[in-house]
């Protein structure tokens, strides 16, 4: 097990048309940490992982495992194990030999390998499958074999490149839990790359959100949710995504549809802002914690009953936010772009409310907004001006 340090890594692909995969990235990953790198496709997260593995050479910058400078070492001399998206098992080898492959290459005695393989098969529930070939396994089983193969070598670090993205929803959730448990047990430094923010939030001890070859924010999952540095991070983290409208601070309030939400701090008066409200910060008036909270009457167009709570979708009469940073963060997400029911160009909001709410599709609903939990962003830079993760609604002034 090792810490991983990346200093000023830069990687550019292509000769004529240059694509900057990594701009100038520095990270310190602690020994034993579960570190997640998340971002939309093309943000440079996989390049970062491949540079750590040695499968890609950075154009500039250095990579350290503990104190060892491994920048110019070949993959096999770095002693890290990689888990690939499509598992990359050796099709011609039995499960047993797949798991033992790395040990065999390192000239470990046969009986030691056999014992290790049996131990891992026991641990990961692969005992019955040891003599099969990868072609005879299901996706989840292959994933486990790939994990076993990585664990077998007891490497300095696990590097995982979207290992869950080929699994269906149930298996994905189950495997996530297993990965978390495995990490509890082994405490091996893990770098986990994903485009799925649920993976990131549920697995990462710290999460780096990448955008266009740079790390936009590095924080704990709750830090990212509560204190996003920018619109991009705010839009990327959270499901359903944060609701956004563009407006102005007038008389100490911002207007979200028909709701007037008070904003602390006189310095913002008259300023153009983008207001963000997390779906969970709405509530049906009947279940509101504080009757004085601002009210937002809406017409429900979709209601999804999720059991523990309900999600309602509604149009808000406001200026929609159309920005590159937001759309790249939401690309591929579950995001209603326009009001398809009424054919109007207004933003669609989602709210997570109490499951006992009597709201129904096509009916009006009175929602409340928790005024202490709104986010304000600067429309020019996209950076956060004011957010809920604050002692006494601190206004962020110096963040650029």
């Amino acid at each position: 097990m090792s810490s991983i340090t990346i200093q000023n890594a830069r990687k550019v692909f292509g000769r004529k048309e240059k694509v900057v995969a990594l701009d100038d990235v520095s990270i310190e990953i602690e020994d034993g940490e579960f570190f997640v790198v998340v971002g939309p496709s093309g943000s440079g997260k996989t390049s970062l992982l491949r540079i750590i593995a040695g499968l890609e050479q950075a154009d500039a910058g250095r990579v350290y495992l503990d104190e060892d400078d491994v920048t110019n070492r070949r993959p096999r001399d770095r002693d890290v194990a990689m888990v690939f998206q499509d598992y990359a098992l050796y099709p011609q080898l039995r499960v047993r030999d797949n798991i033992g492959f790395g040990l065999k290459r390192r000239k470990v005695p046969k009986d030691v390998i056999a014992a290790k393989v049996d131990e891992l098969a026991e641990m990961l529930g692969l005992k019955e499958l040891l003599d099969r070939r990868p072609g005879q396994l299901s996706g989840g089983e292959r994933q486990r074999v790939a994990l076993a193969r990585a664990i077998a070598r007891e490497p300095r670090a696990f590097l995982m490149d979207e290992p869950l993205s080929n699994l269906d929803a149930n298996l994905r959730t189950a495997t996530r839990t297993e990965l978390a448990q495995l990490h509890q047990r082994l405490r091996t430094t893990t770098v986990f790359v994903t485009h799925d923010q649920v993976d990131a939030m549920s697995l990462g001890e710290r999460v780096a959100v990448m955008r266009d070859g740079n790390i936009e924010q590095l924080d704990t999952p709750s830090g990212l949710y509560e204190r996003p540095v920018s619109l991009f991070v705010a839009a990327f983290i959270g499901s359903p995504p944060i609701n956004l409208v563009e407006t102005q601070v007038t008389d100490g309030t911002v207007t979200v549809g028909e709701a007037e939400v008070p904003v602390p701090g006189a310095s913002l008066e008259g300023r153009s802002v983008i207001v963000g409200v997390r779906p969970a910060d709405f509530e049906d008036e009947a279940f509101a914690l504080d009757p004085s909270w601002p009210k937002l009457p809406v017409a429900v167009t979709v209601r999804k009953d999720l059991g523990s709570d309900a999600e309602v979708v509604f149009a808000v009469d406001a200026k929609p936010v159309r920005r590159d940073d937001v759309s790249s963060a939401l690309a591929g997400g579950e995001f209603a772009e326009v009001d398809l029911v009424h054919g109007r160009d207004v933003p669609m909001f989602a709210a997570r409310i109490n499951a006992k709410s009597s709201s129904r599709i096509g009916h009006n609903l009175q929602l409340t907004i928790d005024p202490g939990r709104i986010y304000l962003f600067d429309p020019d830079s996209g950076s956060l001006i004011l957010g809920p993760g604050r002692p006494e609604a601190a206004v962020v002034t110096s963040e650029a």
């Binding site: 040695g54 690939f84 290459r105």
Partner: protein, 281 residues
């Protein structure tokens, strides 16, 4: 649901397919059987009407006669040696090149077309320069004089076929092997080559059969029994004003046997080889 009418239509269609396939099979098999008959029957019965498939006087005399003509059985040995050497060399060179080209994505596409274009040239266009070259080196009537041009002609084909197979292998498998402790060479030998064994077999057999039956270059390069190949030997059963049908058939049979055996042996890989390798190449 198969209705009565549907069943009849299916029967008619199956019968049609069966007839067409039978005709095709007959077109291939009848000449082969006829050759076997001619190789065994005495000369007087070659042109009997009605034709005699298998004579009651069948014997092995024609096979005995072969050794008196030209290089005799030595020609089969020559062909065998030349084919084995040239095939092995083409496979080694071509497979190595194909692997390189498959992994150098961008440039590889252009190169592979060039490699293939060598194969498209008509052999006649090649044979004169090849002859002049080999004469210059002083390799006329030697094994190496045949092996060298055969390697040159077949290596591009091997590159093209094998590149298609290599492209089928996800790079992640190789990268996985690299992080697992393999260098480039051990990735190739332990992970990649075992995965393309069907391709290697199919390609190898293609090349071997090409060389085994190659005539034109053989005709120019060979002179005596030191190097005359079976394909060059075959027409020499035409003498003065006569064709020695029995000896020629016997020799054809001997030439065809290894090809048939190889064909049966790797039939399974053959179709896969043609489709997979070709489409992706």
């Amino acid at each position: 649901m198969v209705t009565g009418g549907g069943r009849t239509r299916k029967l008619v269609r199956d019968a049609g397919i069966f007839l067409v396939l039978s005709a095709l099979a007959a077109a291939v098999i009848i000449p082969m059987v006829w050759i076997v008959g001619v190789a065994l029957k005495p000369p007087g019965e070659y042109f009997d009407i009605p034709p005699v498939w298998f004579s009651s006087d069948s014997n092995l005399q024609h096979f005995r006669n072969i050794s008196g003509f030209n290089a005799g059985y030595r020609a089969l040995l020559n062909s065998f040696i030349v084919a084995i050497c040239a095939t092995s060399a083409s496979m080694v060179l071509g497979t190595a090149a194909a692997y390189g080209l498959a992994r150098l994505r961008r440039r590889g596409d252009v190169w592979s077309i060039w490699f293939l274009s060598q194969r498209i040239l008509p052999p006649v266009a090649l044979v004169i320069p090849v002859f002049l070259l080999i004469r210059e080196i002083g390799w006329i009537d030697t094994y190496q004089g045949l092996i060298l041009p055969y390697i040159a002609i077949n290596t591009p084909f091997v590159v093209w076929m094998m590149r298609g197979y290599f492209l089928e292998i996800p790079t992640a498998i190789e990268e996985s092997a690299m992080t697992d402790g393999c260098g480039r060479w051990s990735v190739l030998f332990r992970v990649v080559l075992p995965l393309v064994v069907p391709g290697l077999l199919a390609t190898g057999v293609f090349v071997w059969i090409y060389i085994w039956s190659e005539f034109l270059i053989g005709l120019f390069i060979t002179q005596t029994s030191a190097s005359i190949t079976a394909a060059v030997q075959l027409p020499s059963f035409t003498i003065a004003n006569d064709v020695l049908w029995g000896e020629m058939s016997a020799f054809s049979l001997l030439m065809a046997t290894p090809v048939l055996i190889l064909g049966l042996f790797i039939q399974r890989y053959f179709v896969r080889g043609l489709t997979l390798g070709a489409v992706k190449g």
